[in-house]
Symmetry: C2
Subunit: 251 residues, 2 copies
């Protein structure tokens, strides 16, 4: 089997390399990559687009542009999968812009070079069938399961609702903690070390991914509002109890 | 050697039990405890206060009241240690209220029944000498080190400044995440699971501990202000980039 990976950013390169343990992986990226892992087969864009299974590893915000660029060049019967961290928006755009003779499977591998550093076994991969027949869907589900992944099938809205609170809030707080300049401490409690790990798990990713997760997931706005509400609630519960001014004995 | 533990709340009971592996531990608490671990020796308040080494495991906010209650009943040459999660305030109160014939060693065991569930080896314990001679200080440092703890000596202000950002922010965010009702998810990323562990590491402790950490550490106010500033900064950086309304395609 052959898989084509379009886009070799931080995630694309990681995912292509993982996939190449199980099948031939052809790759193409807008900008030529130096020092590609040997098992990845660099091809030009035209050749890549004739591969029957195409995985897009491009940023959420460039999906529309990429789809418009490749759409007319895909062969009848090809399968296109995206790998975006949100699902409602790319599923909608793929359905709108890809020709009717192609199959569409939205996917979200819920890991990356940080969380998958010690292997991706048992990590979750979400599949949201958009336009694909059962036998093909089953074949891909089995393929990803054989890679050791925990494959979950869910509706794109179900995914985005849940991801707004899992991935959305984690990336949001990771950026806030990084902005605070939090650093390892010799008096770190176990809880604090978990907090530092959140920075590590989120802030190596490009700022654009953070932005796109917040922008293109229709449910993150509610999440951010609820987060602010909870922060304010704890803050005012605290203010109400602060009957001593705690800077009285500050050095 | 004998140690007296005054106060058997969630932390006091845990700490007394850990200490009892290394020496005789007498205990007393305002309210009588049922089903005490067999190795802890329950005594009445008067007897407890004649023990040469007394460890106070009472809430930060009750320190003043407890010190006033016990002060006149301590024997000359006794050593009093507190175990509060802040250090400036209790050190000041102990110096102010305990008789001059007693020694004072402020301590902060930076763990509890949650983080120490699988043992306390290598976890940090902070010592801040307030009024104690070198030989006695060395003896206690060696004792805690022999328990396997990572013993650190630091000034009370240094401790509180650092703890405001480690413990203070962790407990604050733990309460916010709990208020949001965040729950395990089948699509949890590694980062999100760290975030859930923060709730676990902070929200089993009494609300009073949370409140006291915020109230009695003179440096948490600045921490909370900076946290809010960073949240606002990320929020407005985001708003500036939200050129599409992300609820347009909400179901």
């Amino acid at each position: 089997m052959e898989i084509a990976v379009y886009g070799l950013g931080r995630f694309g390169l990681f995912w292509a390399t993982e996939l190449s343990r199980y099948c031939t992986v052809k790759v193409y990226s807008r900008s030529k990559k130096e020092n590609l892992p040997r098992q990845l087969v660099w091809v030009d864009e035209d050749e890549l687009l004739t591969t029957p299974a195409l995985i897009l590893c491009v940023s959420i915000s460039s999906m529309e542009e990429v789809l418009e660029k490749i759409s007319a060049r895909l062969k009848p019967g090809s399968l296109v999968m995206d790998t975006c961290s949100v699902k409602v928006y790319p599923a909608m755009k793929m359905q709108e812009l890809l020709p009717g003779h192609t199959d569409i499977l939205a996917t979200h591998p819920m890991f990356g070079p940080d969380s998958g550093r010690n292997g991706i076994k048992d990590l979750p991969l979400v599949l949201s069938p958009v336009r694909i027949r059962q036998p093909a869907l089953k074949r891909w589900r089995d393929f990803f399961a054989a890679m050791g992944l925990h494959v979950l099938q869910m509706d794109v809205h179900e995914h985005d609702k849940e991801a707004a609170y899992t991935q959305g809030i984690t990336h949001y707080m990771g950026r806030v903690f990084a902005d605070l300049g939090l650093k390892p401490s010799k008096i770190a409690t176990l809880g604090y070390s978990k907090l530092l790990e959140i920075i590590e798990q989120t802030c190596n990713d490009p700022w654009r991914l953070f932005l796109d997760i917040q922008r293109y997931n229709p449910y993150t706005k509610e999440m951010r509002n609820r987060l602010h509400h909870s922060l304010e609630k704890i803050f005012s519960k605290l203010q109400g109890s602060l009957d001593i001014s705690n800077s009285d004995f500050k050095k």
